[in-house]
Amino acid sequence: MTLPKAHNYDPKRIFDLMIIGSGMAGMAASLFAVNRNLSAVQAGSAGGTLFTSGLMDILSVYPPAERRVWDNPWAALAELRKNASQHPYARVSDDLIRRAFDAVTTFCGAAGIKFRLGGERNLKVITSMGTMKYTYGVPESMWACVEALADKRPCLVIGFQGLKEFSARQVTSTIADEWPSLRACRVVFPGTEGRTEVYAVHLAQALELASIRESLAERIRPHIADARAVGFPAVLGIKRTSVITAHLEKLLGVPVFEIPMMPASVPGFRLKELFDSELPKRGLLRLIDKRVDSVSRLEDGTFVLSISGEDEVRTIRARGVILATGRFMGKGILSDRRGIFEPLFNIPLHQPNERALWHSERFLDPRGHPLNSAGVEVDEFFRPVDNKKNLIHENLFAAGTILAHQDWMRMKCGTGIAIATAYAAVEAFSEMFIRAESKVVAQ
């Protein structure tokens, strides 16, 4: 199982694993596959990881109908399993989740984005909306916020003129009851004088320059006063966030942290850049912005996937497929007048019986909407099954938010599901098709 550094496209080549989808689950599955030395190919849109906030949730709210927030994600998981939930987490162990998180954060850390995990606890951070959020892992650049918030230290939140998606005043006034010593301040970002609109990525790019950081610090310093940390919108650089944060801390004399923003935001951009650039180095054939159009299956079970580009149709052969195409945003699930469907393999979905039952009567119903728990049902190895629990294909796996029986947005478990189920699916594929094969060879 040797992997060439750079794959040349060869239609006759049979890959071990094809991962369809380029969101968090697709990226994680690709990482786990190359970590296991599988020959892997990945296709999908430009990258759903762009929409991540940079935070890594495991599970913060359960059951969602009660809006019960958990300080300890593992306790929440135990509760979930105790209730015999069909949630994907019910099929994975705590140990597997820890291993999966470990693999992802080790990979990110080695590539320059260090994460801090909560260990036995969830971490608490503030968001650009001024809300409080429980999460399991935060990038190093947001850590100072966790510490400052825990002690309610006096801090300063900086906003930039023209950055429409972030208002320091909004943050501080929303959270004022819980964190009264948080102050807001708006400054003009160096070089954007007179502009009515500025954009986060441009600010992040500008901050890669030391001179911009110096002149920004110059503008902030008069406002620090008693603040023991300074919070920024998450724009502190794209490639060298740790260097930029350290430099700003030195210039300002206090710890500096980033506040996660609405998608698509710079931390998501960083993750996307990281996956895009690092995974191919490890041997992944990444087909960026290429969607799989159709699939056929040979008699020996090999999948033949056709991928259309601007002017050519490629086919990829793979011994196994991990479907990580997401739900509606990722176009892993589509809808029409009769119901929702999975367009690629036409997997029967768990869904409400009729359209009228898709949504609850109230938009903000805490129980969510039945459609939010629709999706692909799987067996214990994360292989899709139909409504009678019959396996669709023995070498087809599913991972991520396409899975049924979870409402990740309300339960705050999106990243966890993506990473853990991707890990479980890759492990299952590897056990069934790769290790089994080596056993046969050994005998």
Binding site: S45, L50, R195, T196, Y199, A200, V201, H202, A264, F269
Partner: protein, 575 residues
């Protein structure tokens, strides 16, 4: 009568007249190279500086290793014409046939007294190999001309446009060669010529011998003797051959080596007596000679002048850096290049934006048409605003991709011509579209669209094949306004100054499309400043063809704004 006119002072007078017209014409043409300038008025160089610059660069070409390069250019691209071979073997064959055939005919045949006779003292035009070679070269020219004619019939507008000058050039060459062949054939059949020759070189001992020689010539050369009735016997022919060898063979090779004229002679033999009677041989001779004189006089003003201008253009451009062509010597070079263009159409065949011609139907997009415009502009012959607008459109659709320069058989630096003439057009008030479009804001344009098309039932459908991304909601509906496109856009990032900041960022354009407000996006800075770097499209997490959409908007905007703004403005100017 014949003898008195051949080589007469009348013919010499005609020759010198046409020769002096030719020389004066060449001087006039060369002089013009230093007078006209196709570039913008603001940066024109004084004429004496152009002369000195040209001389300086000519001298520098002879120095050191550059001379070697010069020699290579002359040999390969000049004589062997490898530039033509690069794009078409047929054209190369055509060109080499005409060039070699005609040049050799001029040297060996027309100037035989000055060249061939000097090199080969035993030269007679009717002796082999000269007789054979003359036929061969003539055949080469006709072969080349035939390819040229077929090519002109096969490739028509817009690739090749055949004009009067092309027809005249082909006609003159064809007349010279055709009359030459027929003249040679008639001379063979003519009894009068036979008589003239025998009177001069053969004094017969007996009528028997006379008949024998006549019999031999009638058989071998096809000479037609009127009212001459002799039974031809083998003995008579044998005697005739003997006399021929003694008297004529030193100047006359066998007629079969005249492989074109001889068959013609056989064909016209039945009419030989009539032709003789009317002195056709003489008239053909005059036609042949005067066609040559006419060609000589017409030479500097005709397409044939490219024999001089093309090698010059090839050498000058081959010796200089075509990407940095703006020197004081540029103006004379550009003027020379205008004379070097033979309208062969090679540039049109390779033009990157030639397909746009099919969409817009504007001939001024095509390179060789553009070069004519450059000429007309420089000569100040182009003042009609409507025409100038069309020319401006053609000039600015060009992407200056260098393909035309790469393939031009005359080695013309076409890019430099485009750059300089564009600047001149801008000076004349016909700048690039994005310049005049930015005179108004996106909302002003939108209002103008509203008012100007208010009375029309709907915008006219666009003819021909056209993408339709901006009207297809499937294309942009998936947009979730995440701003990624705007965030990665280098144009948005580069516009620091609020006065020229991007007004409607890419994600806002997508939103306008969703609201059906395409008109509002069309005149925006974003659309007209877009570099088509495809960053937005590559980063779009929803897979929307952002760049393609912006590009299409720009094209659609141009079609409408041109009609509203330029054409109307032009009409106002005209009235």
């Amino acid at each position: 009568m014949i003898d008195t006119l051949l080589g007469s002072s009348f013919l010499y007078a005609c020759l010198y007249i046409s020769l002096s017209i030719c020389c004066a014409g060449i001087l006039f043409k060369v002089g013009r190279w230093f007078i006209i300038d196709t570039g913008p008025v603001s940066v024109r160089v004084p004429r004496w500086k152009r002369v000195t610059a040209a001389i300086r660069s000519m001298l520098s070409a002879l120095a050191g290793r550059r001379a070697l390069h010069l020699f290579r250019l002359i040999l390969l691209e000049g004589l062997l014409q490898t530039r033509i071979l690069k794009t078409s073997a047929w054209r190369w064959m055509m060109h080499v046939s005409i060039f070699v055939g005609f040049t050799m005919l001029v040297l060996m045949h027309a100037l035989d007294e000055k060249t061939t006779k000097v090199l080969f003292p035993e030269y007679y035009s009717t002796l082999d190999p000269f007789q054979f070679l003359r036929n061969l070269f003539g055949a080469m020219v006709l072969f080349g001309v035939a390819i040229a004619v077929i090519r002109r019939i096969r490739f028509r507008k817009p690739i090749v446009v055949t004009r009067g000058s092309d027809r005249i050039a082909v006609a003159i060459v064809s007349v010279i060669i055709a009359t030459g062949f027929v003249l040679e054939a008639i001379k063979l059949t003519s009894e009068r010529v036979y008589k003239r020759m025998t009177e001069a070189f053969y004094s017969s001992a007996s009528p028997e011998d006379e008949n024998a020689l006549k019999a031999y010539w009638a058989k071998e050369y096809g000479t037609a003797f009127a009212s001459w009735k002799v039974t031809i016997t083998p003995e008579l022919l044998a005697r005739g051959k003997q006399i021929h060898e003694e008297t004529c063979a030193s100047c006359h090779s066998s007629a079969t080596s005249a492989f074109i004229s001889h068959p013609i002679a056989r064909a016209v033999r039945p009419f030989a007596a009539a032709l003789d009677r009317h002195g056709v041989e003489l008239w053909l001779y005059y036609l042949h000679v005067f066609a040559c004189f006419a060609a000589l006089a017409y030479f500097p003003f005709s397409k044939l002048f490219h024999i001089i201008t093309n090698p010059l253009s090839i050498v000058i451009n081959g010796m200089s850096d075509i990407k940095d062509a703006d020197t004081p010597a540029a103006a004379p070079r550009r003027a020379l290049e205008l004379d070097a263009c033979t309208s062969c159409g090679t540039c049109n065949r390779y033009c990157s934006v030639a397909p746009v011609y099919r969409m817009l139907g504007n001939m001024e997009i095509l390179p060789f048409q553009k070069l004519r415009n450059v000429k007309a502009l420089a000569a100040g012959k182009m003042n009609n605003p409507a025409k100038l607008q069309e020319v401006s459109e053609g000039a600015f659709i060009c992407t200056t991709c260098y393909r035309c320069t790469e393939v031009c058989p005359a080695g013309i630096n076409l890019q430099d011509q485009w750059f300089s003439s564009r600047a001149l057009l801008a000076e004349k008030g016909f700048p690039q579209p994005h310049v005049w479009i930015k005179e108004k804001s996106a909302s002003e344009w939108s209002d103008r669209i509203h008012y100007s098309e208010r009375d029309a039932h709907e915008a006219a459908p666009i003819k021909g094949r056209y993408y339709n991304l901006t009207d297809d909601s499937e294309i942009f509906a998936p947009c979730i306004q995440c701003q990624t496109c705007t965030n990665v856009c280098p144009v948005v990032a580069a516009r620091g100054d609020s006065r020229d900041a991007v007004d409607i960022s890419p994600q806002k354009i997508m939103n306008l499309l969703r609201l059906g407000l395409n008109d509002l996006a069309m005149g925006s800075r974003m659309v007209w400043d877009c570099l088509t770097c495809y960053q937005c499209q590559e980063h779009c997490p929803q897979g929307i063809r952002v760049t393609d959409i912006i590009y299409e908007l720009k094209n659609r905007a141009y079609l409408r704004f041109r009609e509203m703004d330029r054409w109307k403005k032009v009409d106002e100017d005209a009235t």
